[in-house]
Amino acid sequence: MTDFPLSLLGVALWAYLAGAAGALVFQRFEKLANGFGFGMAAAGGLCGLVSCGAALASGMPVASRSIELFPALIPLVRFAIRADALGCFFGLIVSLLAVPLSVYSLGYARSYFGRRNVGVLAALFNLLLLSITLVFLADHVFFFLIAWELMALSASILVCFEHEQDESRGGAVLFFVMSHIGTAALILGFLLLFQASGSYAFTDFHALGAKLSASRRGGVFLLFLFGFGIKAGLVPLHIWLPAAHPVAPSNVSALMSGVLIKTGVYGLIRVCFDFLGAPPQWWGVAVLGLGTVSAVLGVLFALMEHDLKRLLAYHSIENIGIILIGLGAALMLLHSSHPMLASLALIAGLYHTLNHACFKALLFLGAGAVLHATHTRNMEEMGGLAKRMQWTSAFFLLGAAAISALPPLNGFVSEWFTYQSLLQGFGSTPSLIRLMFPLSGAMLALTSALAAACFVKAFGITFLAQPRSAHAREAREASLTMLLGQGLLVAVCVVLGLFPGILLKLLDPLTHQLIGERLSQRLSLAGGLVLSSGAAQGGTVSTLGIVLMLVALLAVPIVLWALFARGARTRIAPTWDCGLRGLTPHMQYTATGFSKPLRMIFKALFRPRREVQREYDLSPYFATTLRFESHVEEVFQTRVYRPLKWLVLRFSRRSRALQAGSIQAYLIYIFLTLLALLLFAL
């Protein structure tokens, strides 16, 4: 019986592998490759979902076995996986997304029929799912790194799936380069850990921090923060994210934003809580600070975007920031020995990880459907889609409400937990550093408000009012499978929002493993329908109660209407147009116009530049042509990365002189090295 969830997990891995192989074999027959590839991915996701869910629900023991998938042919490498609570939880996230994304892809990939090799798309999609799952489960350094690199490779190939566009290739290359720099840091970190443990098994890394000197521990932490921070899209290491996510096929963007960047979060939790243990204060401060900065900057950059998918990519940075606020608070609270509060903060971060995976995937799928219908990512060319794509717009609206943390949806629950842990954290320590908590809380509040503003813009400009282009006018509703995929994710968002008790129970083994606390009993009252912050002075909230209250309040206007307005005359007339001859799309609020107040408030950050050219014949009030340009500076690209790139290129050009192309010169290099080594040995 104990082997049941694990063996099913093995089935999931084989299903992904079979899906990848099958899709490649059948690539000549597009429909078969599409059906088989994404079908197997969905089946694998279902198996993974059931097995991880069952394992977590059974309240698994802390010490879980490590099993070898297949015997290693190479020395030093063991292909071992271990499904502990942390791995299972992240496995649950990837499996939970695999099902709706695969269903969606069945319809989405049809638009590639006859143009592209759908078999390759399905195969790489399966490979990406497989490698991400293995990253979460790997129990051996080299196996982890192999899975990690496989993930980066398959993802970067998927990013440039539409490879004839410069943008796609550029995004893929940037992702590839950043990912490799991160991996280099990870390898160094693992080697330092190996020095202390003498083994490459993750099991032996547990609580290794006690054996390291303080400075070395700090070095290991920084290396991992850098390496995993790149993958998570932490500011200022985030630049690959808005470049790579938008250009990938939308189902892949959803997978990348939903799960791939979470591998960084997973790695940080694994290293900070499992490997190193007992964090010094500055770790928590660093993570909390970086998280706060990422959240605020992420949403500010998102506000300036008119590209629907880039906007969503920037929101991923914001949400990673919110997750890290939870993690950082947990680290700080763990340092001041408040394990219960630390567990609360960790739960907030983990809950938000799952929530973000769900609603961000949902939003990317919605954006994919819109892209599919209008053939553009530019919001200024959309509009009026709510009438043409009713289901998609409804789903997108729900996703937007969830990401803006509006009750009763899931985003609200996790942000509520984050606020609770920050508020209670203020009382956890007498030192001045406690000011971090309310500061971060205030920034989080700002972030939430800006996120709501951003999604008012995204939804309003994209779906409401009149179509701004011919493409938008001719948009059609997405196919049934695409809608089904989005619908499934909406259902998950609603369930996670209304019944948070379910997930809290599943998180119990995780906090028990990492911190040694089980909190679900304290956090959920009334059978999980009411949430409590677990402390006497903290608050309680019930999302289900809010819904019931809303339904009850709905009765008020109906009653008022019945009492006073029944029988009043209703007149149906066109919208007031100030006496002009009808409204045209040109009169509508644009995305640029909507975000202008914020652009002005944060002028120091955006450095907006605009250019207006006006040509007129008689009077400047009657222009014949008008050209308007508006730019926002991408601070990190221009201020950090461009000088860095310039330096690297200059160094490379200089060092090219070494490669003279003459055999004698090369021989001299070798000879001089040999002599130097000999003299060094003396």
Partner: protein
Amino acid sequence: MSASATAPIGSQILTLMAALMLVLQLFIIAQRRLLTNIRLFAIQSLLLAGIAAVVAFHHAANHVYLVAGLTLVGKVVLLPWLLTRLVYRIQIHQEIEPLLNAPSSMLIGGGLTLLGYVVARPFTSMERLGNNTLAIALALVLTGFFLTINRRKALTQVLALLTVENGVMLAAVALTTYGMPLVVELGIFFDVLVAVMVLAILVYRIRENFASMDTSKLNQLKG
């Protein structure tokens, strides 16, 4: 004849032959005619085979006889024959044109030999037979390496590489207890043979394409 009685004689023979190998190496550095160079290399290899035979006899290690035999067949007969044939086939200019002139080459060779002796000094106690064979082996490797840099023509570079290989072999025979494992030695022989054949073909091609064997002209290949 017991082993203890032969020890000083064997040791002396070994030292003599190793020293002759070094002298031949210095000859090769100063020499300017290609065919003479090949012959000098053949004699050096013959001495190596002799050393291997003495070691084999002394330690009654039969597989080292095999090494001696292979050296004799491969490096004394086969490779010089191959190289000589190549020289006639491509009708090459007989004069070697080194980058540095003979006196300065000799000076550098002498310096490298000195370095070899200095580096090998801590290990002399590990030698079983002969004095300073390891130092000579190191000197052979270093001067051979210098030769590959100093020569322009691909063919002479091949020859220099072979003297490096002789040095490595000398170190193996002189220092390790029973030579290297037989498999490794066979592998090295095979490697050298194949390398020379490949290089011979390469030399022929370079000659065809550039109408010269001067590898310093290969930098025209750079983009």
